[in-house]
Symmetry: D2
Subunit: 360 residues, 4 copies
């Protein structure tokens, strides 16, 4: 299943084409729409107040409710948007947005309105594609779950504690906690921690600033033996390529991830045991992957999202026509922390990656 | 330039085929061999005492000293190895090695001797391929540099301090410091910090244990405007796929990387300025990449290596024939910390990734 | 430039996404539409009388008239179609259509209406994509031309006579003849031959039967030295993959093509000479490709189209539910010979292939 | 299973790396060697008298006689060759060889000795790779068979007569005739026709000239429903890319192939029937592929090989240093018709293509 996303924030429509969808899948379009609603803005006070009515339309690849295996195209119409807001940034790139790099790459022909093709809005078709992938995975008993793991050192409970040997690492959390996550506007395991994160986001928003976050994600149910150590086929490499294609993702770590540089081998290694006739590991520091191959444990990874680069505070930029340095103030309403809306996006990327790993 | 690595630790030979090498490149084979020597074991007391004489032989793709553009195959003969040492692991997978996942993936037909195709020894052909890539990049003014950034919270100086606005972020370190790195047996910028790392490694080795590390790498000289935000074409995604194909790499972060979850937008954003008629950023938290596209600043990233899974301490494993739990003691000599030898490997992966980004 | 076509004959819309379009291309949408009009049905008495108003809409990738380098999506709405006509074929596959193979591949979930995703109608988005490719090629002085070469042994003049040594093989036909081709409803070089072909088609149509054809195509202006002998990179292999993705194409030959089995080396070989300081070949039997690499001469190839499988005569089929053999009569209006409308389709496929070869 | 061939005619070795080989395949190395022996020169008076002792060595990917799934590298050492013979062609390209195109592509750095990487000798590793593919296919009941179909209008019997309705098109020839083919030095179904071909080749050889040929190939046992109509996934496109990567192949046609332009729909269409509870077609003009998807019938195709460009007759060339036209006489011993030795090469390419289609 290969996806191609198209569209611009202020163009007529955004969408995605999925190639290689398994035929005969009874597509639950309501579930696709529900995933889109999870990432829609305007629900939580920590998110932007912009309203976007993202209704997905299937143009192809589905017949009488089932996938045919032909390319599946889904489109979301853009509502009328006020492009006027963005005229000021045409030649004044916003720091840490794609504006300047995109200006150079497009030879000056950038659709700068609302970030154009670089807009976070383009994660909507990604979520739609991921929703299809999730349905394909579900037929094979594979589930994908994510939560906000950390915002500015306020930590949610982890899916798995990386150091306790007595955990049952075949499970990542009680099933009822997992199933509650997609229904939460602020998807964390520990709601008290979530409230502290929320309060902190609102404080920082009041200061005209923004925050980054860590999202932890688990893919549960992948059998052992998928992948290879080699370039292009190793599971970490496959996942990372999907994850870094999500805007704002700047780091990806599997299992203990960047914490491995603080661990000893005796702590980091995952001892084997046999449970229920099955070889498992007592810990899952490896995030379910050894030598680039799944080992049958949940595939676990954490992505780090950069803080929203659109902040209300004045910033230093450059006029690309004159070469003069200018002060830039970004207008409009922006998410002070993208994390709550990013959770379904990371799940979508993970689901598409898991389909590739599974050969779906 | 696409590479394919083949071989097993105890097979007749290991090697690599490079497709798409630019024609007409005057190949400096001594430089290729010098890179191999950088990763060779047995030089530093912190490394394994095993001796490997890795002499590279070019089988194809070079004529009268120049690349022809045809696939370039380089082979390294394996010397006689004592396969007997490894018999005990055939059905007793070493925790956190590829043994178990590989056993399942290969349907039980795993070349288990010395890790087989999963062996760190397979990074030798990767280094050889990277050395060719470096020579291709040098023709375009692109250089690749790496150092050990951190071992168990002992930090080397960073290529760039991520918070100081007064840095000149177009440079990553004084040129003489960079050029000294490849000649160092323990490649750090700050040799005093390096000595502390070394001492710590030897302590941990004496305890029969091992350590992970962070490696920081910079690709300097990539022009702005390369890449795209889209899956398969974004620069972070391209680099990450090469980096995760290196054994032991479990996390990859660009620029501030996983630290972004602790920063505010006002700290994380990289303000623009004009220097020497060129648009640059005052900071380089983005690691030279915005919206998946190079912005003309050095591409900076950090990879986290897991601790060497081969440790002298006893570990819990399973007999794959009987399903019984067994205690495993790994014999032989192993690197207590792979970091010094991994530095040229990470550079090689980065060089190959940079070639893809450059379209070489 | 990679294309993905989506849609079904009787779905809401058909379209194409083009990735990797060069940025800054001033897109001539009228020229895109003009190419679509070339393949539209209902113009010539030899074609189907169905009317299709194929108006292309650009959803993304173009801003202020120029390509941005982001994925370019073009959509053509399907007008209301009478799906009822096709109910009879749901479980009664039409011989030599994709119905049966598609039924199996889709696990029975085939959109059978009008051929669904297998419909020749899907060549409309291909033509739109090819029109963009042609504009990108024109910037590099590369042109693509095709004509009907042969229908049932009625031959048009050839672009180049393969045996005459005194031809100037750097040109494929007088420029005015080439430029007239896209304006002809029946695109042949020799209109008298064209009239004979037309008359023959009408005769065969009257018998309820159909005809195949050969289309000859030339890509003029490709520089020497592109491609490689190797799998995945050789020019014949690249072109053929694009050409066989066109429905009804069953054979592809380069230069003298399938006639090579009747030639001797002394006839087949293309002698070199120097003309205007440039190395050329006196003949172009190789179709501009030696060893998988362009030699600077026009790339010439011929594709063979199978006769339209939809014929009015009764045919033998099978009821896929009961396994009973049944007689099938295909209703509706169909092209008795697809050749005139296929000419712009083959040009489109060739233009996309040429872009890949050029690295555009 | 993806293959990469490396090496040059007069370099130290030639070889191939196969990625994605299914694990657990009991590799029959003798069978691999036997395939190499089929293409070895010097056996038949119609072939070159050169002796090549092509012994294949496995460097990786096989352990205890079974494939491990890791990249499988096979190498054939080059014996000492007289490079001196080829000095005269360094700057005097042989017509219709890859010399000139390769000279430009390599920026003048071509290994010109014996054709270098363009040499037909590079089909030896292709045959070795194909032999592995055949063994993987055999496990799934898929076989690959080829014969010389035509040399200069001397025709062998066809695998299937394309017009007779009473044929059993599920079989391509009596099994004993198929199994005899690989053991024949001149692989034809009808030995009398073969004798006429042989005599004709020797005549043409005596004149210092060469001949092309058609090779017909069948892949038997592929199930219905593999592939898709879309670019990159359609079965004809996949096969053609493998076939055109074989030197000398200039045309590829499926089923009736280039004859379709002489057929009417009523002749070309393959009526369905049910035989033994299975849907089959009474004819197999489609070559087992409809809409880019296998229909369960044998996949049939014919490739056209150009006449060997190395002929003894004097030819016109150009001195690339001076731009002067020169007469060229090619020395050495060459195959006057490559067909007998090309048969196992075409089978190898077809076997690799079939593995891709099967998802092996």
């Amino acid at each position: 299943m290969k996806y191609t996303i198209f569209g611009e924030s202020h163009g007529p429509a955004i969408g995605v084409v999925l190639e290689g969808v398994p035929a005969g899948l009874e597509l639950d379009l309501k579930a696709v729409q529900a995933e889109l609603d999870r990432r829609a803005p305007g629900k939580d006070p920590t998110a932007t107040a912009r309203k976007e009515s993202d209704t997905v339309h299937v143009l192809s690849g589905v017949f009488e409710g089932k996938t045919t295996g032909a390319p599946l195209c889904m489109v979301i119409q853009n509502s009328d948007q006020h492009s006027g807001d963005y005229g000021s940034i045409r030649y004044t790139p916003r720091p840490s947005h794609g504006d300047y790099a995109g200006f150079v790459a497009s030879k000056g022909c950038l659709d700068y309105r609302g970030g154009g093709h670089f807009s976070g809005r383009l994660t909507a078709p990604l979520v739609a594609a991921g929703a299809v992938a999730k349905q394909a995975l579900a037929q094979h008993g594979v589930g994908v779950w994510a939560h906000i793991a950390n915002i500015d050192s306020i930590w949610d409970d982890a899916f798995i504690s990386f150091t306790e040997e007595d955990d049952d690492c075949t499970q990542i959390a009680p099933p009822e906690d997992l199933e509650a996550l997609p229904r939460k506007e602020f998807p964390v395991l520990n709601d008290a921690a979530g409230e502290r994160m929320r309060a902190h986001i609102l404080e920082v928003k009041a200061e005209g600033d923004s925050l980054g976050a860590d999202i932890e994600c688990a893919v549960v149910g992948l059998p052992a033996g998928l992948g290879a150590p080699d370039f292009g086929r190793n599971v970490e490499g496959i996942f990372s390529q999907y994850l870094f294609a999500v805007p704002a993702v700047k780091a990806v770590g599997f299992g203990a991830g960047f914490l491995f540089s603080q661990l000893r081998g005796s702590e980091a290694n995952d001892p084997f045991e046999v449970r229920g006739g099955k070889v498992i590991t007592k810990r899952n520091n490896a995030g379910g992957i050894n030598g680039g191959i799944t080992n049958g444990m949940p595939v676990l990874f954490t992505v780090t999202l950069r803080p929203t680069p659109s902040i209300a505070l004045p910033q230093e930029s450059v006029d690309l026509r004159t070469g003069e340095e200018v002060e830039l103030e970004i207008k409009g309403r922006h998410d002070p922390c993208i994390a709550p809306r990013a959770v379904p996006v990371i799940e979508a990327a993970a689901a598409l990656a898991a389909c590739e790993v599974m050969g779906l």
